[in-house]
């Protein structure tokens, strides 16, 4: 009988919020600190209250599994700087570990890591803000902590997700601009020419459905579908106009044309609602991907990956983002791209800055080891040259470089996740047979609701 009690109780006890609150209260009691949150703070020279500095102290660095290579590269080149590495889930899939832990440290008044890597572009929105009277987690980087020459070296617009009210709170690790990936060998075999507008793309999709059923021209099963198609169509679903203001308007031609395109190609099976990271996708579509609009990191994560599509060398081509008919300039969306934060509570800001500068700019990591397109322009050039030299791609990678500066700035980086809203609102609806065009008002309502509970004023 003792067993069943344990089984029934322990299943959910761990999850009880009350327990979390309890831990927080115990931490509060232990530290004897119930106010402030900054450790021995005084107004520092970098534009935020600094902790007492100790340049010989060890820094704690939080990274996801993929960024361990960056830490190793740094340690090799800088053996005199002592680092403690903590691997965490990097906020993947909106698990919010980063935010959750920092809020508990805020309440406890100690425990913050010195450097954190995050894969969510929504993090600067909260990390830059004081919450409940507690000092903002992220250190201001452009008031002297990081040299201006380094900040200026990032690609145009690369630091937008890190910039809140004109101040920079993080450094970008890599960019995730969406481009048009395609299989050059298949396109040549079928006798198709590359589309030059989204309308062309849709027409080609309809042609593929008739002439080569089973082949696909994209996917719409992932949470970042709106960031590829809606963002790239200038749909004003996420126009963050201030730290706590957002404009949401999905009742526009821009939103409707992208939704119609998706609906058409979804219905004829050329843009299936299947996530690229499912076994189903690999099983059904290996060798069947004719085109796929998506972020730069698709190259390594999906195409040139033996666990995924495993496209052989010499087949994968890349084209610049597509414009819509009548628009002279194409814009594109952005799907992630990691960011590095320095804690404003750090006792060794110098070492933390040295680390963050290294992992974002040094060739030893960004060019030699990094799987994604570097945000630091100089490293990006070398990275592209290295990729071109690998002879893997069927076409030059220049379109990726072009796309880096084409990310539409009408879609911002708020505190709430557009991906999560899309996933829970649109994906089940589509699966149940509704069209995205019909669901645009529901999408608008869901964004507004979420924005409001996060304290945003919706216009």
């Amino acid at each position: 009988m003792v067993g069943i009690h344990n089984v029934v109780r322990s299943r959910r006890r761990a999850a009880l919020t009350a327990a979390a609150l309890g831990v927080a209260s115990v931490l509060l009691a232990l530290t004897g600190c119930s106010s402030g949150g900054s450790t021995g703070s005084s107004n520092g020279s970098y534009g935020f209250p600094e902790a007492k500095q100790d340049t010989s102290s060890r820094i704690t660095v939080w990274v996801d599994a993929d960024r361990q290579a960056a830490v190793k590269a740094f340690e090799k080149d800088n053996p005199e700087t002592k680092i403690k590495v903590v691997t965490y889930d990097g906020s993947a899939n909106g698990s919010n570990s980063f935010k959750t832990k920092m809020q508990l440290f805020d309440r406890a008044g100690s425990g913050w890591p010195d450097v954190v890597f995050s894969s969510q572009n929504t993090d600067a929105a909260w990390a830059s803000q004081k919450t409940a009277g507690k000092q903002a987690f992220a250190a201001v980087l452009d008031k002297g902590l990081v040299p201006k020459t380094i900040l200026d070296g990032f690609a145009e617009g690369a630091l937008n997700p890190c910039t809140v009210e004109g101040q920079v709170y993080c450094l970008r690790n890599d960019l995730a601009q969406a481009v048009l990936w395609y299989n050059k060998s298949l396109m040549d075999k079928f006798g198709y020419t590359l589309p030059t507008t989204w309308e062309d793309y849709q027409a080609l999709g309809e042609k593929v459905a008739k002439e080569h059923p089973g082949y696909i021209v994209g996917t719409a099963g992932d949470a970042w579908t709106p960031e590829v198609f809606m963002w790239g169509s200038k749909c004003q679903a996420n126009d963050i106009t201030g730290p706590r203001t957002v404009t949401v308007n999905t009742d526009t031609t821009e939103c409707k044309r992208a939704a119609t395109l998706l609906d058409t190609l979804r219905e004829n099976g050329t843009v299936p609602v299947v996530s690229v990271f499912t076994p189903e996708f690999v099983k059904k579509y290996t060798g069947k991907v004719l085109m796929m609009p998506g972020p730069a990191w698709y190259a390594g994560a999906i195409f040139n990956n033996p666990q995924s599509l495993n496209v052989p060398a010499g087949q994968l081509g890349v084209a610049a983002p597509l414009p819509w008919n009548g628009e002279d300039k194409a814009v594109t969306g952005n799907v992630g791209g990691g960011t590095w934060f320095i804690s404003s509570h750090s006792k060794n800001l110098k070492a933390a800055e040295k680390f963050v500068q290294y992992v974002t700019t040094a060739d030893a990591y960004q060019v030699e080891l990094a799987p994604g397109y570097p945000a630091y322009a100089e490293a990006a050039q070398k990275w592209v040259a290295k990729q071109d030299a690998s002879k893997y791609y069927a076409t030059p990678l220049q379109p990726i470089v072009t796309a880096a500066s084409q990310i539409w700035d009408g879609w911002g980086y708020g505190i709430f996740s557009q991906e999560a809203i899309w996933a829970k609102t649109i994906t089940p609806g589509v699966t149940a047979g509704k069209t995205i065009v019909d669901m645009l008002p529901a999408w608008q309502q869901a964004i507004e609701n979420q924005a409001k509970v996060d304290g945003y004023t919706v216009k």
């Binding site: 029934v8 999850a15 959750t100 499912t278």
Partner: protein
């Protein structure tokens, strides 16, 4: 020293005979070991049960800056657009799960108890108990495979029901049933063993008498065994209700596994978690926790009184 009257001494003797184990009757020098046994439990219950609950009450009635908030936090969370759906989700899940649990556990326990072949009965109890050995998050991870038609060992069955992809399986309408099945699978085995033990306590004389009176197995189950199991069923109800209202692990893991297609604010407990850690609003989270506590207490009270859990034989 004057002796007490005989009548008084007799009365005192009678009293001590009737109540032989009063604390005063303890032999001198004996350690009150009972207190030692409960002390650790009491300390842990205080640290991780009572104190957090008191802290939650404090938080629920205060503002972020510490001032008295009255019922503002409660009004805020109840009017949140996510609150009513979350309550409905948990309610649907509870209704399905509790009915499933009571019906199947009792029926299966009766069947196991009726099996007279010794090895078969033991084997059945073992088989029923086995899924419960895989508890908590690990069982949900296992279920993620079962629910994905591309990886599931029962993919044929899923396809028969018209579900060809993971997203089709985890459609909002299916979720209460899915969570109920997961919870049943991992929890029912233990309860079957408990019910089996309770059935063993039903006097064989009573069963024998019923049999002589001409009752068949079904009549014995319905007229004798079931009424005598009432307390145990109520006990199962209370325990399961407390666990069920706290639904968290299943939707949380499914939310992560489905890249947020299952919302991360599906259950009331998840909503409290969102308040605390997404919105940094511990006061709102505490208010939700208290509402949850009150509802669980109220429903438990119904089970306890209707099930006669504290009635003496």
């Amino acid at each position: 020293m004057a002796l007490a009257p005989v009548s008084d001494r007799l009365a005192a003797d009678a009293t001590s005979r009737r109540r032989p184990v009063r604390p005063q009757g303890r032999a001198p020098g004996r350690v009150p070991i009972g207190y030692l046994f409960v002390s650790l439990y009491t300390l842990l219950a205080l640290a991780f049960g009572i104190l957090p609950a008191v802290y939650a009450v404090f938080l629920a009635f205060t503002k972020v800056d510490g001032g008295f908030a009255g019922f503002d936090n409660f009004v805020k969370v109840v009017t949140d657009f996510r609150f009513v759906p979350a309550v409905l989700h948990v309610t649907f899940y509870l209704v399905i799960w509790l009915i499933m649990l009571v019906v199947f556990v009792v029926v299966l326990a009766l069947i196991v108890h009726a099996v007279k072949v010794r090895w078969a009965g033991t084997a059945l109890r073992f088989v029923y108990y086995l899924p419960g050995a895989l508890a908590g998050a690990s069982s949900v991870l296992l279920w993620l495979f079962v629910l994905d038609p591309t990886a599931s060992p029962v993919s044929g069955l899923l396809r028969l029901m018209g579900m060809n992809s993971f997203v089709q399986v985890i459609q909002p309408g299916n979720l209460p049933a899915i969570f109920a099945i997961i919870a049943f699978w991992t929890g029912a085995g233990g309860w079957i063993v408990i019910m089996y033990g309770a059935l063993n306590n039903v006097s064989s004389d009573v069963i024998e008498a019923a049999r002589i009176d001409g009752a068949n197995a079904v009549q014995i189950a319905l007229r004798i065994q079931l009424p005598m199991l009432r307390k145990w069923i109520a006990y199962m109800g209370v325990m399961s209700l407390a666990a069920g209202t706290q639904l968290f692990v299943e939707p949380q893991l499914l939310s992560q596994a489905s890249n947020a297609v299952v919302p991360n604010d599906y259950s009331v407990n998840q909503l409290a978690y969102q308040y605390a850690f997404q919105q940094n609003d511990f006061n709102g989270a505490a208010a939700i926790s208290l509402i949850l506590l009150l509802v669980a207490l109220l429903l438990s009270w119904v089970f306890v009184t209707r099930g006669g859990l504290f009635e003496k034989e």
